[in-house]
Every structure is written in structure tokens, then in C-alpha cells.
Amino acid sequence: MSRYKQLNLGMIKCIFLGETSDSRVIARQMLRNKPALFGLAVVILVVSMTLFADFMAPYDPSAQDLTKRLQPPSLEHPFGLDEFGRDILSRVIHGARVSMLVGISVITLALGVGMLLGVFSGYFGGKVDMLVMRVADIFLAFPGLILAIGFMAVLGQSLTNVIVSLVLVNWPGYARVIRGQVLHIRGIEYVEAARAIGASHRSIMLGHILPNAMSPLIVLATIGMGWAILAEAGLSFLGLGVKPPTPSWGAIISSGRAYLIQAPHIATIPGLILALTILAFNLIGDAIRDALDPRMRT
């Protein structure tokens, strides 16, 4: 799926082994970046849709009117109606809830697991490192979303299963990046100084190493959000995501597949919203990465 996330994983490894950055410089850099501001606007809109779906949606997303089925976009229904006569705009607004819920849950959990294992692995090294990294390698041996597809095939359709499957696929990438950061940071003087004054492993890991290893995680989390939203939509497109009639962007696109000629709006408009949302997260992630990269500063 997200080729973009993989590309960024590689770039991040190179960039963040440099210096830590001043947040004001980063904010200034971000505000000058027009694509990032566009991305931010889209993300704010999607978050608003998630929080205020009940107020923003003009109709009940499940309300059917078979007399108006497949109706094209109009002033009354700006995104048109689907095969059951349901308002697509309302379904897209409510579908944002599923997308954001999956995105936030997957990123939080995968980052949590990846961070914990990555810090342990990088800090202690030796057998712990070897074990964690070999397990990560095994998970990384499955291409992209395919492991998640496998899990969903046997676990069955549900929002929880989607989140669990995507966390399982996602954590190794985060663990690898954090481990790389920790390996670099643990050799820096201030960590050795903390060790010399008798600080405990826990205090060194949580107080000294982790805060300084956080920068790449911000970029990874932002781009990862786009990936998780895309992955959920992909699973729902294949009929492996959330259960109908819960509105999900992927499921709406999938239902529009059968009506590409009579009602192209069913698949195209929600797909465009999905693409714009993923683009928005990628643009923001890209801008944060550029702002954190000392070579890109102007």
C-alpha cells in the first residue's frame, strides 16, 4: 500500500541521526510551506468531520430512499445518492470517524509497541536486540498489507480486528527506526554521564534517550496516519474491514464499483476525499521532515 511511508522510513533514518531541532524554527519553516498548510487545512476538516459528524452530516447516513437511488450530485445531495438511496456526503462524513479512529488507534498502539521494543532492543543490545530484531524481520517479511489481509481473512470483519491486524503489521517499522536512534544516542556523552553518576537503566531510557529519539516519530506518526487510513479503506474495499452498514470510505468506493457507468459519483467522490486525506498527511509529514532536516533550512 503506502509506498510513501516506506520511502520516508529510509529518509528518516538518514536525517535524524543529526542534530535536535528548535521547535520555533520548525514552526516557522512549516508556516512558509504552502503544500503543508493545504494539508493542515484538509486534516482540520477531516478531524472536524470526525468530531462533529452528527451536526455536519445533512442526512442520516443509513436513511434509505429507494425512489432516489443512484441519483447524481445535486444541490440537495452534493455528493449524490448510492444504490440504496443513501446520501453519500453524510456517509463520507460519518466514514471519516472510522478512518480517523483506525488511524489514531493504529498509530498509537503500533508506536507504543514499536517504541518500547525498539528502546529495549537498542539500549540493551545483545540477545534482547537480536531476538526483537529477528521477530521484527519476520513481520517485515510479509509484503505491505498482505499480512493484515491474512489476519482479517481468519479473524473476520470488525473494527477491532482491523486495528489489531494493522498494529501487527506496523510495529516492526517503528521498532527499527527507534532502535537506530537509540543506538546512536546511547553513545553520546550525556548518556554516558548519566550512567557514570549511577542513573538506573529505566531513568536513562525514559529520561535521557527516549525524549531525544522522538523527532522521527512525529514524522512517522503523521505519514503513518495516512497509511493506516488507506489500509483500512483497502481492507473495507475487499470486504474485510468494518461490518456494513457502518459507513467506511473503502466500502463506499467498493459499492460504487458495480455502478461505474450509471452512477460514477459513488466511487469517484469518496475516493477523491480519501486520496486528498492521505495526501494531506503525507504533505504534513513531508514538511515536518524537511523542517527537522538541518540541510533543508533556509
Binding site: I146, L155, G234, I261
Partner: protein, 308 residues
């Protein structure tokens, strides 16, 4: 170099073992009784017959023995039989895997044909409107969901313009839309990589020297700079293969391309678990092997790669 290849091959063993373990775990998570699923027996059926079958298939043995036997069967290429068609899973996979490889290879060609020239133009015109437009367009291309792009291309080129077949397999025309769907997304990544690598290369001394020798700009960029900029792109293409394989699952499903992705999705809808798990295992092993080959090619092309 030979040592490096051998070492990389040895490192594959634990990964393959781990992949088989995960597949085994997924198999055990499969809902319902495997005997009842596989033989279509009702739970209220003859219990002595069910027990007999369970013993015959080794399902009453300790879990580690079951895993050992499962691994042994995998090593012999025995993934069981399809519940839906009763054909050996390995036969179904060997029929479809080559089609997926053809699709992926075509997508890489499409991506390179679109991505490299646009990346070069973007780098050469750095800072101009062409560069800015190209950069945003490339991020957009990389952000488009394959399954949506596939539907849009199908709608425009097959339904409205009638230029390509809607779906199916057999001629080169059938390959155009699936390969373009997969390739356009990848081309976004290639544009960005080509641009950034080329920008680094054209600032190096050997490029200045080439200009000083009186070579034309076209020759310097396309022959000298691009050749050096292409090396990292090969690695990234290797990394992207996983996403291409996953993308192929969606694209094959949409366009009815008879690859391993369509086979798997069909098997999921039919709850044909032996096919799903067999396809999952083969896809992962193919991915691991392709990555190994890419690593070896990279080590061969770039002598700076550490062999140790």
C-alpha cells in the same frame, strides 16, 4: 562477494521459519473445527468418524508436533488442497504467480518510464513552476489509493473511451490498465528520488569536469549524472516491491487479472483457507527472495556496500 551472498542466504533461514510459524498461528486462528471445515461434516455427525479423521490428520497431536509436520509439508511444497475446487493449492499458485510477476514487472517499467524523465526535468528546472508542480503531483501520485485509481482508469479508458478492455487476461491490451494503475503510484516515488539524487550528483566535481570538457548539458545530465543517480533508485524499487505486491492484490481483483492476489481474495470470499494461507506463504517468500536479489544486485553495483 560470494561470502556476502552466502551470509545473506543463511540469514533467510530464520526468517522463512518465522514466516511459517506466523502462517501456522493464523491457520490455528481459523474459525471453526478444521475437520468440519475441510470435510463439510456437521458438528452433530458421527463423533467416532470425526475422531478417526482428527487422529489420521494428526490434529490430536501436541501443537509442536503439528507445527513440525506442517513445516515438513511446506518444505515439500504441499499446501494441501483447495476446499472450493479440490485442486492442489500449489497448482493454483503456480498457475497464478507468473501473472502477478508479469504485472509487477510491467508496473515497474511504467513507473520508470514516467518517473525518471519527469524527475530529471524537475531537477534540471529546480525552483521553477515546473519543479513545484511536479513535486506536488508526485506526492499526489504516491498518495492515490490503487483501488480507486484502477476504477477511475477503467471508467475513463474502458467505459468512456473504449480504448482498453474492461477486465481479463490474454493480450497486451489487458495489461495496460492494471500495470498503469500500479505504476503511476510508484512513479511518484521515482520522480522524487530521481530529482533528489540528481540534484546531489549535479553538484559534484565530476559533473563540473564534464562541463569543462565541453560536453553538452543533455549529455552531462542524461549520460553522466543520471547513471550515478540511478543506483539508490534500484534499492528503493526493491523496498517498494512489497507495496507493489500488496497493490497487485487490489488491482488484480478490480481488473480480473488472474494473479495470486485475485486468487487470494477469491479464496477469502469462499473461506478457502488452505489457498489463503498457501498464497500468503508463497507471496512472503517471493518478497523475501526478491529483496535478497535486489540487495545482491546493489552490492554488486555499488562496491561501497559493506560485505561484512
Amino acid at each position: 562477494m560470494l561470502k556476502y551472498i552466502l551470509r545473506r542466504c543463511l540469514m533467510l533461514a530464520p526468517v522463512v521459519l518465522g514466516v511459517s510459524l506466523i502462517i501456522f498461528v493464523i491457520m490455528k486462528l481459523t474459525p471453526g473445527d478444521p475437520i468440519l471445515n475441510a470435510f463439510g461434516i456437521q458438528p452433530t455427525g458421527d463423533q467416532s468418524y470425526i475422531s478417526e479423521l482428527r487422529a489420521k490428520l494428526g490434529l490430536d497431536e501436541p501443537i509442536y508436533v503439528q507445527y513440525g509436520k506442517f513445516l515438513w509439508r511446506l518444505m515439500q511444497g504441499d499446501f494441501g488442497r483447495s476446499i472450493a475446487s479440490n485442486k492442489p493449492v500449489v497448482a493454483l499458485i503456480s498457475e497464478t504467480l507468473p501473472n502477478t510477476l508479469i504485472l509487477i514487472l510491467s508496473a515497474v517499467i511504467v513507473a520508470a518510464l514516467i518517473g525518471i524523465p519527469i524527475g530529471v526535468i524537475s531537477a534540471v528546472r529546480q525552483g521553477t513552476w515546473i519543479d513545484h508542480t511536479t513535486r506536488v503531483a508526485s506526492i499526489f501520485a504516491a498518495s492515490i489509493p490503487d483501488f480507486w485509481l484502477g476504477l477511475v482508469l477503467m471508467m475513463v479508458f474502458s467505459y468512456y473511451l473504449g480504448l482498453t478492455p474492461i477486465a481479463g487476461h490474454g493480450t497486451i491490451q489487458h495489461l495496460i490498465l492494471p500495470a498503469s494503475t500500479l505504476g503511476i503510484g510508484l512513479s511518484g516515488v521515482i520522480v522524487r528520488l530521481t530529482r533528489s539524487n540528481l540534484l546531489e550528483i549535479i553538484r559534484q566535481d565530476f559533473i563540473t569536469a564534464a562541463y569543462a570538457r565541453g560536453l553538452s548539458r543533455t549529455r552531462v545530465i542524461w549520460k553522466h549524472a543520471l547513471r550515478n543517480a540511478l543506483i539508490p533508485i534500484i534499492t528503493v524499487l526493491g523496498l517498494q516491491l512489497g507495496f507493489l505486491i500488496a497493490g497487485a492484490f487490489f488491482v488484480e481483483w478490480i481488473f480480473g487479472w488472474p494473479g495470486i492476489g485475485r486468487l487470494t481474495v477469491q479464496a477469502i470470499t469462499q473461506r478457502d483457507y488452505p489457498v489463503v494461507l498457501g498464497a500468503l506463504f508463497v507471496t512472503s517468500i517471493a518478497y523475501v527472495l526478491i529483496n535478497l536479489i535486489v540487495d545482491i544486485i546493489y552490492a554488486y553495483i555499488d562496491p561501497r556496500v559493506k560485505y561484512e
